[in-house]
Amino acid sequence: MRTRNPFPKKLDFTGLVELTHGTGGKVMAQLVEQLFAAAFDNRYLSQRNDQAVVEPPVGKLVMTTDGYVVSPIFFAGGNIGSLAVHGTVNDIAMAGARPLYLSSAFILEEGFPLADLKRVVDSMAKAAMQAGVPIVTGDTKVVERGKGDGVFITTTGVGVIPVGVTPPSGDRAKPGDVVLVSGSMGDHGVAILSQREGLSFETTIESDSASLHTLVADMVTVCPDIHVLRDPTRGGLATTLNEIAWQSGVGFKLEERAIPVKPQVAAACELLGIDPLYVANEGKLLAIVAPQDADKVLAAMKANPLGKDSARVGTVIEDENGFVQLETSFGGSRILDWLAGEQLPRIC
């Protein structure tokens, strides 16, 4: 039975991250105990081991990993911590899977305020709790000032595909399939941009960052054979569809009028000269389903609060060129090309 308290003085959150916080000694142990473990609080972490022992699930195991380097760290609608949970949960969910466990590795920069770290960790804990997915193991390292941008987080997740569900995959889109999106495009990217130095524009747009596994669960319940599920993160809807077009060897025909975009997102994109279809989303998914399944999947999406603005936006077509075509509101058409990199604001 443990009676000795090795940390007589409580962790002072007004201080800064120092190199000793990463060296494995008592200072680090206190940081882990009084910040990470206290926030994430579950029976796996409370064992204080470097690994978690878990029961293997029944069904196909799914695993994913992501690095989070977002800047600014805090933004309207979330921060790097909540993003680190939602993003990884979503990668699991896009396999049609139920997320089970998360791990998180932190790389902290010397000098990063502990108060900010606490905000990030508390957000992560809240997101994980709301998603019902425990953070069961983790790691902490500290790098010298100037060698890290405040904090980098790497989150790994494992999940299980329920028996009877055929895993969606990017190479399963077939001509005739219907493309659905779960809501408005471009919110996250605009929320981030509005806080970058120099743009000096203000919006009330918040990041849409959210865990989508319950939405996916509702969808696979009515349709265990969804062909493709993907969250259009960096590069937005257009980039994601280009990737899928390439993987599946098909083309797409989208209807511009059908794609939901919030008015302020449209306005902010106009000001910057960028296209909302290429702007990142962190709480939306696209689904490609067989035509006979489209109505019931769309209905299931709309019934979930995370998918209330869901819409049917286009179809998959035969096209050996793999173009993603957009029918404009004028009846003209253009290609949504696969851009080399992110769109940069323009003056011309």
Binding site: F323, T328, S329, F330, G331, G332, R334, D337, I347, C348
Partner: protein, 383 residues
């Protein structure tokens, strides 16, 4: 978005387009150059070209300041960014343009150069105030629309006595580019057929419509100065078709809500006060043009990067196979170029027309590649 969405009404657009179809005579074709890169962008973004009859052809003009900037000038900017203590501020449009050895500002940044993307001259000024130990150089590009903000920034730097702020001026003039097309040897030989112009809209808010009058008068070309929304463009194209049908060659102003004959006199004065004409300036794709570009006046040498820094200039010729010069003048189409979409693509652009999304070749590549089957001729109204 007030006064934007109304000009994007699809139903009205289709009606105006059908009017163009109805009025375009079948016994001739109409070759109309939209000068401005922003107009090219709008034509493509809204799929307007497909709404036009086949005998109304839009030729994409050289009004893209990114496209016409010579590689040598970009290399000078990159060299500056590599100097110890210099922070080079550039618009997003310039960041990925490849210079010598395929090095862009972005690649130079990865290699250690201090390059910052900014959204306006104001941001560069803010950086200068916040970093007194650094030399902030603002890489100023653009036609007459973007020049007055640069002029204002220089005057602000002067008023505040900012010692660490300079501008690398690359502002160019629109009438000179139009002149280069109309007055080129090929035009004189009758090889360039441009029947009329959709004139630049936002440049004209500054310089007014008056500078274009001589093109309509002396070259017998109808001009319609146009706004940037799709309805503006369609109306301007209709105005030009009508002028050509009626044998007129006048300057018309479609963008009356923002443009008048005289322009913004205060902005013109500011530009005049701070800048003067360069005797000549190299334009990528168009050759060396007289009196076509601006530099800071000697009184403002303290804020002139070319006065503060030693900047050797090395002209870089375009690739032998590049057809941009001819494309910019409307002599060739992008698809006529031997390296279009093969060696020359938006990811690895070889010529100026591919360099920015508004260059002719980039616009063709990005927006039109999928039209492998011929588009049906828009229906003519018989009523």
């Amino acid at each position: 978005m007030r006064f934007i969405e109304e000009f994007r009404d699809g139903t009205v657009a289709r009606q105006v387009a059908s009017q163009i179809v109805a009025e375009a005579r079948r016994d001739r074709d109409y070759k109309i150059m939209e000068f401005c890169g922003g107009h090219t962008h709008a034509l493509c973004r809204y799929g307007l070209i497909e709404l036009l009859p086949k005998n109304v052809e839009m030729i994409h003009g050289p009004g893209c300041p990114v496209c016409v900037l010579p590689i040598g000038r970009l290399d000078q900017a990159i060299e500056l960014a590599r100097q110890p203590n210099v922070m080079l501020c550039a618009y997003g449009d310039m960041m990925r343009v490849p210079g010598k050895d395929r090095v862009s500002l972005m690649r130079a940044r990865a290699q250690g150069a201090n390059v910052r993307m900014v959204f306006g001259a104001n941001d560069a000024l803010k950086l200068a105030r916040a970093n007194p130990d650094k030399q902030i150089v603002f890489f100023a590009i653009g036609f007459e629309t973007t020049t007055p903000p640069t002029a204002l920034a220089v005057k602000t730097a002067q008023a505040e006595g900012l010692e660490n702020f300079t501008v690398f001026v690359n502002h160019v003039l629109t009438p000179s580019a139009i002149e280069a097309i109309l007055g080129s040897p090929e035009a004189k030989e009758g090889r360039i057929r441009v029947d009329g112009f959709v004139g630049p809209g936002h440049v004209s808010t500054i310089i007014g419509t008056q500078p274009y009058e001589r093109f309509a008068r002396d070259w017998n070309k109808p001009i319609a100065v146009s706004g940037f929304e799709p309805l503006d463009l369609l109306q301007s194209i209709l105005m030009i078709v009508r002028q050509l049908n009626e044998g007129r060659h006048e300057l018309e102003n479609q963008y009356t809500r923002a443009v008048n004959s005289a322009g913004n006199l205060k902005a013109q004065r500011l530009t005049e006060e701070t800048m003067e004409l360069r005797p000549s300036f190299e334009w990528r794709g168009l050759g060396t043009l007289q009196a076509s570009a601006l530099k800071l006046r000697p009184e403002f040498a303290k804020w002139d990067a070319e006065a503060r820094f030693t900047m050797p200039y090395e002209a870089v010729a375009d690739h032998k196979a590049c057809a941009c010069g001819d494309i910019l003048k409307g002599l060739k189409k992008p698809t006529d170029c031997k390296i279009f979409a093969t060696a020359c693509t938006p990811e690895s652009p070889i010529g100026s027309c591919m360099v920015s999304p508004e260059g002719s070749c980039a616009a063709y590549y990005l927006y039109g590649r999928h039209r492998t089957s011929p588009t049906p001729e828009p229906e003519r109204r018989t009523a």
